[in-house]
């Protein structure tokens, strides 16, 4: 339903709001000539517009969930009595990732916090499965998950991981490899492999064209696009270094006779080491 008067109000407001001072006054006088009611309504809207700075600017629900909130840990903070954070690396669907130092073994590690809501339910079990799966894959570009720890009260669940060597330049700025120096480009760079994992905070970060499926235990299978008869899988921690993961994925045929998900789970368990590099 179109209300002609409302539409006229919209037109006048849209034009008036782009003008200032005397120019606006002149425009309003002309546009609302002979219609003091319209003039009053437009002026009320313009006054509302001037007061609307910041109004409704904080959505109740944000697609960029939690982006504005500061990192959970500060640089230099001792975590779980063992790790000293060096820097905040990034934030994903599951939680945050930090570069940290293992004070016991004196080496650099990645710390991944698990959001409480992700840790609830089957979250921890999935994480354990991820660690079991990651331990089966050996490759310098694979970010391996080592262990689970807790910090604070109420506890923050953490996963510790080894550093990956880094990734391709196209995704590195948004999804930084855990540590520098970056690894060499992954072997099939010409194929422009890109990957979408879980939820990204911005549609522009959707990375194509590989179809992914989130499997149980946060493992992803993918089918190359354009389709080729190869599939692979990776664990979600690699989301911090996408191209690293791509460089280390194993291309495996499905296991005949099993439903797709089972096939991929079993395939993952059968992967002795990465073959993609």
């Amino acid at each position: 339903m179109t209300n002609p008067r409302w539409e006229r109000l919209k037109e006048v407001f849209a034009e008036a709001v782009e003008k200032e001072g005397e120019e606006r006054e002149r425009f309003l006088s002309a546009a609302c000539a002979g219609d003091p009611g319209l003039l009053e309504e437009v002026q009320a809207l313009l006054a509302g517009d001037e007061q609307a700075d910041g109004f409704l600017s904080n959505p109740v629900v944000s697609l960029r969930g939690g982006e504005a909130s500061p990192p959970l840990f500060a640089p230099g903070q001792i975590i779980a009595g063992r790790f000293r954070t060096r820097r905040f690396i990034g934030r994903g669907g599951m939680g945050e990732v930090y570069e940290a130092e293992d004070l016991v073994l004196a080496e650099k590690v990645a710390l991944k916090t698990i959001r409480p809501i992700s840790a609830a339910g089957h979250g921890i079990e999935h994480l354990k499965q991820e660690i079991h799966a990651a331990r089966r894959v050996t490759h310098p570009n694979v970010c391996r998950t080592f262990d689970i720890a807790e910090h604070g009260d109420p506890p923050v669940t953490l996963a510790t991981a080894a550093p990956a060597r880094g990734g391709g330049s196209d995704v590195a700025p948004r999804s930084p490899s855990l540590f520098s120096p970056p690894a060499p480009p992954f072997p099939d760079a010409k194929a422009a492999y890109r990957l979408q994992i879980g939820i990204f905070p911005d549609p522009s970060q959707l990375i194509y064209p590989i179809f992914t499926r989130l499997l149980q235990s946060n493992c992803l299978s993918f089918t190359e696009f354009p389709p080729r008869p190869q599939q692979g899988q990776m664990t979600s921690l690699h989301r911090t270094s996408h191209s690293c993961a791509l460089s280390s994925l194993c291309f495996l045929p499905d296991i005949p006779g099993a439903p797709p998900r089972i096939k991929r789970h079993r395939a993952m368990g059968l992967v002795p080491r990465a073959q993609g590099a």
Binding site: A52, P59, V61, L63, G65, G93, A120, T212
Partner: protein, 189 residues
């Protein structure tokens, strides 16, 4: 009982994106049910004073409900569009419940307490809801844009995709809607 199979949700999202109003209506109870279920479950796991951010809840619902094979950001935008409608209802119900509870002397509802608003008081939310209802009567599209932007957190581009209008149109309508609401709330206060 509405199905919550991820593939089915994805299909409904795709159909809703193509303008299937029935698919959109089918999604609403699914999302509503999931959000409430998650809120209830999560609050059982946490210390009593913990508050659950609506954003976190919606993201979790998305993760659980939507099949991410061949994901499409427009489907995701539509999911959040549905979630915006559901969250609006949940939060307004919650604000009303809190108002009633205040009048009765502090009785609260544990489940609904799980839903909190960042920096938005119940009374303020109800005032916005009331004015938004009036705006939606006058200009349904502006009302929908406010719902998507404020209750769903969709960007201008995402709103444009959901409503099948241009980005500049969204910006223009959003600005006027805010001005109108601001003016109405100013009058009310």
């Amino acid at each position: 009982m509405v199905t919550t199979e991820p593939g089915e949700i994805t299909r409904m999202l795709s159909e809703a994106r193509l303008g299937d109003e029935q698919a959109l209506q089918q999604l609403i109870p699914v999302v509503y049910q999931e959000l409430r279920r998650l809120a209830a479950y999560y609050m059982q796991q946490e210390r009593p004073e913990h508050t659950l951010q609506a954003t976190e809840l919606v993201h979790e619902a998305y993760l659980r409900l939507v099949d991410r094979e061949a994901p499409d950001w427009r489907d995701r935008a539509h999911f959040f569009a549905v979630a915006a409608k559901v969250m609006r209802n949940l939060l307004v119900d919650h604000a009303r419940a809190r108002r009633r509870a205040k009048r009765r002397g502090g009785l609260t509802f544990p489940l609904d307490e799980a839903l909190t608003l960042a920096a938005v008081e119940s009374e303020e939310l109800l005032a916005i809801e009331n004015a938004l209802g009036q705006l939606s009567t006058i200009d349904p599209r502006q009302g929908r844009i406010v719902e998507l932007r404020y209750f769903g957190g969709l960007s201008v581009e995402e709103v444009a995709a959901v409503l099948h209008i241009s980005g500049p149109t969204v910006k223009r309508e959003w600005r006027m809607a805010k001005a109108w609401l601001r003016a109405q709330l100013g009058v009310a206060s």
